[in-house]
Every structure is written in C-alpha cells, then in structure tokens.
C-alpha cells in the first residue's frame, strides 16, 4: 500500500478484498424492500430499545452493508421487535423481517475465529 503519511487504526479498517457479503445478499434477497433504505434515521429516532440502551437501527444497516458480522450479532440482540421503526419508515421497509432474517442467518456466516 502506498504511504500517504497517514496512520490507519487497524481495528477500524474494512478490507473490501475480504468483504463477506453473503449475509447482506441473503437478507436483500429475502426482503427486497430493504434495498430502498435511504438511511434517513427515522427508525433510530423512534426506537424503543434505543431509548434504553445504545442501539441504532441505522448503524445496524451500515454494519450489515460493511459485512461487519461480529459487531452486528451483538447489536441485533438488543431489538425488542416492537415495530415502531416499520411504521415510521418513509419507504415502507419491512424492518422486523430484516431483523429476524439477520438473527436467523447470522450464525451461518459468522467468521470461525470469532
């Protein structure tokens, strides 16, 4: 890699050559409405779980799209599935199904060394 004189925090590096999109692809295939998310953050603003603990639905979306499966797995456990996010979503995304799909499939795609 060319040295531009900047340092990189190793933990925050996302190496797209190592990108694991299997979970993302499965979720998008099973719940295509998730493709139209515009990251407005309405879901995060209304979230009941987000009131009680640091939990961010939009960040979950980001983790999924970056293939950060390990972080995603601990994040997703916080959701209470109350459905408020789905009702405020301007794109009508079926977010509860997205959460359940991730919960069900994540074990399959977790890196072994985790």
């Amino acid at each position: 890699m060319k040295n531009f004189g900047y340092s990189i925090i190793k933990q925050r590096t996302i190496d797209y050559d190592q990108f694991d999109g299997r979970l993302l692809n499965e979720v998008l295939e099973m719940e295509p409405s998730f493709k139209v998310c515009l990251s407005c953050g309405g879901c995060t603003a209304t979230c009941s779980a987000g009131d009680l603990v640091s939990f961010n639905v939009r960040r979950m979306n980001l983790l999924l799209r970056r293939g950060e499966t390990i972080e995603l797995e601990s994040e997703i456990q916080k959701c209470m599935l109350c459905g408020k996010c789905m009702l405020v979503c301007p794109r009508g995304i079926n977010l509860r199904n997205v959460i359940m799909l991730i919960k069900k499939s994540i074990a399959k795609y977790k890196p072994i060394n985790s």
Binding site: M80, C82, K84, N94, K104
Partner: protein, 615 residues
C-alpha cells in the same frame, strides 16, 4: 358362514387402518404432558365424556356448524357422514337379524346383499332392507353434491375450494366410487336373484332386462370391495384422517386439553383433525392482497407434510378471523404460534441491558397508565387520555412516558416467547413495586399480554375503553352526544383476542350515533397492520386496509372509531375517512360540552387538511 375372495381388499384395508389408528393415536396420547394425561384419567368417567359424545354426534355426524354456514354444504357433509355411519350401524343390525346372532364379521354386514340370495320374509328384515336402500340413496345424494361442488363451489357458499395432493385425490376418488359401486353391485345381485328392496329391486330388474347382469356381478362386487380397501389404505396420507382423529380431538378438548407452547401429541391431533374443507379460505383477508397460499388450511397441510417454510408460516396477520369459522373448532392461531416458537427458539435475545429497579409512586395514585409503543406514534390518543384523566380528576402514573421496555407481545407473535419473558419480567417488577392496583392500557396488543402473561395478582388490567366506561358510570365524565354517525372497527387483539366487544360500544353509544355493520365483533375485519405478520409487504397491507375501509365507507359514516393505535395508524394513511380512537372521540365530546370554541366538523376538516399536507 359363507365367504368369498372379493372380501379380501376390504378386510385387509380394514385391518390395516385399525392397526394404524391404534398405533398412531396411542403414540400421540402417550406423548401428552403428565398434567394432560391426568386430565384424561380424571375426566373420563365424568359428564365431560357425555358432552364429548354429544358434540361428536352434533358436529362429526350432523355437521351443525357447516349447516349454519351454508345449508347445502351442511347437507352434503351430513349425508356423507351421518348416512355412512347409519349404513354401517343398520347394516350390522340387518346382518345380525338375518343370521340371528350378534357375532357377524364386518364383511358380512358390508356385502350381505351378495351372500343373501333369497328375499327377506320377516317384517323386520323387510323394514331393515328398505331402510338400507333409503340410507344408500341419502348418501348417494351427498356424493352427487360432492361431484357438483368440485365443478361449482359457489352453490355451497364457498368462493374458493382447497387444492388437493395425490393422497387426497386417491382417497377422494375412492370415496366417490364406493357408494355408486355399492348401489350398482347390490342392484345387479337383486336383479339376478329377483330380491332386493324398494330401490334395489326395481333398479335390479331394469338392469337385468337390459344387460347380461350375470357377467357384471363379480366385477362390481370386486370393484366395491377394492374401492373400500383403497380408501382405507389412502386414509393415512389423505385429509380424511380427520374422520377418526376428530373424534379423539373432541374427547380431549372436552377434557380441557389445550394447545401448548410446544409441538406435542395434542397439536398433532389438531393438525390431523383438519378436514381441509377450505371454509377458512373465504374469511382470510390475505386473499385481498392476492396472497393465496398461507391460509390456515395450507399451513396445517404443510405442518403435516413437514414442508412448512418461514415465508408461509410468518405470512399471517394472526387476526383470528378463520378461527370462529372452523367447523372442527381448531386452535388455528395457537397452532401457528407453536410452529413459530419452534422456528425461532434458537434466536431469543436475553436483553441484559434492562435494569430492574423499584418504582416509587405517590400513594394517592389510582391507576398506572401504560400507553404502549404504538400509542407513542399516535400522540393524539395520549393527549386525549391525559386530558380526560384531568377532567375526571384521576391520579395516575404514566409508566412509559419516557423510557420503558416493550410489552413483549410483538416478540410473542413471532414466536420469541423466551425473549418476551425478559421484557415481561422487567415491566412486571415495575408494576408490582408501584403498589397500584389498576393498570390502564391504550394499546390492545399490550392489553392482551398484560392480561394473559403478566401474572399480576390483585391488579386489574383495563383497556382505556373499559376504564372510560367505568369513569362515565361513576359520573366522573360529562356526557355529550355528538351528532356524528360512527362505525366502530373492532381491533383484532381487543375483540377476538380478548373478547372486549361491548365496552367500547357502550361508551360510543353515549357520545355518538353508532351504526351496526355486517362484519363486526367475531367476524370483524383486520386493518392489515398487524405486527404478527413479518413477511407481508407494505403495498399488500394497503390492499387489505383499503378493502376493509371500502366496506366501512358503504355505511357512509362521518368517522371511523377504533380502540387501537395500530389500527388508527394503519387506517389514517389511506386518507379516505377521518379515523379516531375512542379516547379522542370522548375527549372531543367533552370539549364540545365544555363550550370551548372547537367545532367538531372543523376539527375533522383540519385533521384532513393536516393529512393532505403530510401525504
């Protein structure tokens, strides 16, 4: 006693099905929980057994519930079930009477007209053979209707009829053949021996005068016996398993056994008791959104065939509309939830971030008010409840005003009971530690779970429609009838889910003019917004909602009333009709009474204008 080779298909089939049923029902009953087994032992010699027998006669034989749905459909089922039952019983009596003994083998009663070649001479014999002829005619009339139903189900009050699989087809065809073949075989034998009774005799003589009946006799009896044997062999893989299993189900249900939160013997008995009549298809609103393969009848079929997918299992609103219509009385919602628990049992969260803490509230507090997640998305309801409480002088603690966990019901609806327990325990501790003896809930979803799963001894759980009615009865609320024609939409979780039908209506009757509608109470429509369905797409929800709204619009109401924030939220998006929660209507009426310069009609216009701005 005589015998002949053609009894073999029937006898082998009967032996097979008897052994099969004894084994499989034995396995199911032995896998019941210990409590359920002791229920059976303690109830078997009580009048519960008598009630079960009465129910079997009324439902399994006479099909009273199907008669109520449609008389022609009821007659078809009754003639086949009750007629066949009587054919077996009277046939056996006839054989016993003829041979003057009580120990006649089963085949003798079935094939008696082949073995007995001389006409019956005694009066009892004549009466019995005449009644056998009439009974066969009765069953045949049902078979003719069944042929016709396959071609035109509308005559039977059913818009749709179920799709069949191979085992069903074999059993159906053999069932359709059994009785015509029996009729032909008996008539031909009557034609040869010049005996028979009121119908078989003239038919036999007619056939004998046209055809060489001697060469037809054996093939017809073989075919009849073969059709019976085929039916018995196809029974375990067909929907007709419901005939024997339903009898077991009715006994167990009368003994107080219910579907548990796990798959077990009783849930299997329920699944096998489904006759796939398809009556649930018509009441299911999913078809309004062109979803035609996730109805209860298909889910039960997939459970039986072990090929149920999540896409189908979770594509149901759990509105419960199919349940009152089911002629077998199956617990369709609970069966589906049991499957959902099984499907998601490994994915329950532990919610370790919930901090249990005791709550101290003022000792004057009369009630706890729990709005619920959905109500927080419809702030007008919260505002109205708060204002009404202020008018009535209710001292309350607003439990979820800022930060509270969800009630747990949305998790339970998708099968996550273990996860929901954590939320329930968290909220329950808060409610119990507050020491308040009454909790008022605005959301029927929360109401149901507080009532059924929270274990709150000495604490009364009330939906706000019940509580407002109580306040009104105590004369703590002013009454003012508004000149508005209102249709009330029963929320699924409050109506069918919790049997609260009357309180909202009594309350509305005092404040507005309530219009009775066709689909209300038990048959009320679902708004389409249910959280129980995690697979349905927004446009499909909208189609269900619009079909329901169109039905309400036909009554030309001024506004639509409901008692559920989720129903309100769902309907509001359509913009076809002003929609308000009961609390909002009561608040509007009180405001009007208090001579505050707010005209209801302008408020409705304003609400509409607001909506137009938003969409």
């Amino acid at each position: 006693m005589e015998t002949t080779p053609f009894i073999l298909p029937f006898t082998i089939g009967l032996l097979f099905i008897s052994c099969f049923l004894v084994i499989i029902i034995g396995i199911w009953i032995s896998s019941l929980s210990r409590i359920d087994k002791s229920r059976i032992i303690h109830s078997i010699l009580t009048k519960k057994s008598w009630f079960a027998i009465r129910e079997i006669v009324m439902e399994s034989l006479l099909h009273r519930k199907i008669f109520r749905k449609n008389p022609v459909l009821g007659y078809m089922h009754m003639s086949l079930a009750f007629g066949w039952f009587l054919l077996i019983v009277v046939g056996h009596i006839e054989a016993c009477n003829h041979y003057q003994t009580f120990s006649v083998p089963a085949y003798m009663a079935i094939f008696m007209r082949y073995f007995v070649t001389e006409p019956s001479t005694t009066l009892s014999g004549k009466i019995l053979s005449a009644s056998m002829d009439l009974l066969l005619l009765f069953v045949l009339s049902g078979v003719v209707l069944a042929y016709y139903k396959r071609a035109n189900s509308r005559l039977f009050g059913m818009k749709k009829t179920t799709q069949l699989k191979l085992g069903d087809r074999i059993a159906l065809i053999s069932l359709w053949l059994i009785f015509p073949l029996r009729f032909l075989a008996e008539s031909v034998s009557a034609g040869i021996h010049h005996n028979g009774s009121i119908i078989s005799h003239p038919t036999g003589e007619l056939l004998a005068s046209i055809f060489p009946v001697h060469s037809f006799e054996m093939p017809l009896w073989w075919a009849y016996s073969g059709a019976l044997g085929l039916f018995f062999f196809a029974l375990p893989v067909s929907r007709y398993m419901h005939i024997p299993v339903e009898v077991v189900l009715i006994f167990l249900r009368n003994y107080g056994i219910k579907v548990q939160k796990r798959i077990g013997g009783y849930s299997r008995i329920q699944v096998y008791s489904c006759s796939r009549c398809g009556i649930c298809l018509d009441s299911c609103q999913m078809s309004h959104a062109a979803i035609k393969d996730t109805q209860s009848v298909y889910i039960l079929k997939h459970i039986r065939n072990k090929n149920l997918t999540d896409e189908k299992l979770f594509n149901c609103l759990l509105c419960g509309r199919c349940q009152p219509d089911c002629p077998v009385g199956l617990e369709l919602n609970n069966l589906r939830i049991t499957q959902r628990i099984e499907s998601t049992k490994e994915y329950n969260s532990s919610y370790e971030y919930l901090k249990n803490g005791k709550i101290a509230v003022s000792p004057q507090t009369e009630v706890i008010y729990f709005a619920g997640c959905m109500t927080h998305l419809t702030p007008a309801i919260i505002k109205s409840v708060k204002e009404i409480f202020a008018v009535a002088g209710v001292k309350y603690w607003f439990m979820d005003e800022e930060k509270t966990a969800c009630c747990g019901r949305p998790l339970m609806q998708v099968g996550q009971y273990e996860a929901a327990k954590k939320l329930i325990e968290h909220n329950r501790m808060q409610i119990l530690s507050s020491g308040v003896k009454k909790i008022v809930v605005s959301c029927p979803i929360c109401y149901k779970v507080f009532n059924e799963d929270y274990a709150l001894p000495g604490i009364r759980v009330m939906h706000h429609s019940e509580y407002l009615l109580e306040l009104m009865a105590d004369k703590r609320l002013p009454i003012n009838k508004l000149p508005l024609r209102v249709v009330y939409h029963d929320p699924c979780e409050l109506g069918r889910g919790s049997s609260i039908y009357h309180q909202p209506r009594l309350l509305l009757d005092e404040y507005v003019e309530l219009i009775p509608i066709k689909n209300e109470k038990k048959t009320a429509l679902c708004c389409g917004g249910s959280l129980a369905n995690i697979k349905i797409q927004m446009n499909e929800r909208n189609q269900i909602r619009d079909t329901a709204l169109d039905e309400y619009l036909a009554y030309q109401p001024d506004l639509l009333a409901t008692a559920c924030p989720l129903c309100k939220k769902t309907f509001t998006k359509s913009n076809k009709l002003p929609i308000h929660d009961i609390a909002e209507i009561v608040y509007m009426a009180i405001l009007n009474k208090m001579d505050i310069e707010i005209n209801i009609s302008t408020q409705i216009e304003k609400a509409n204008a607001d909506k137009n701005l938003r969409f």
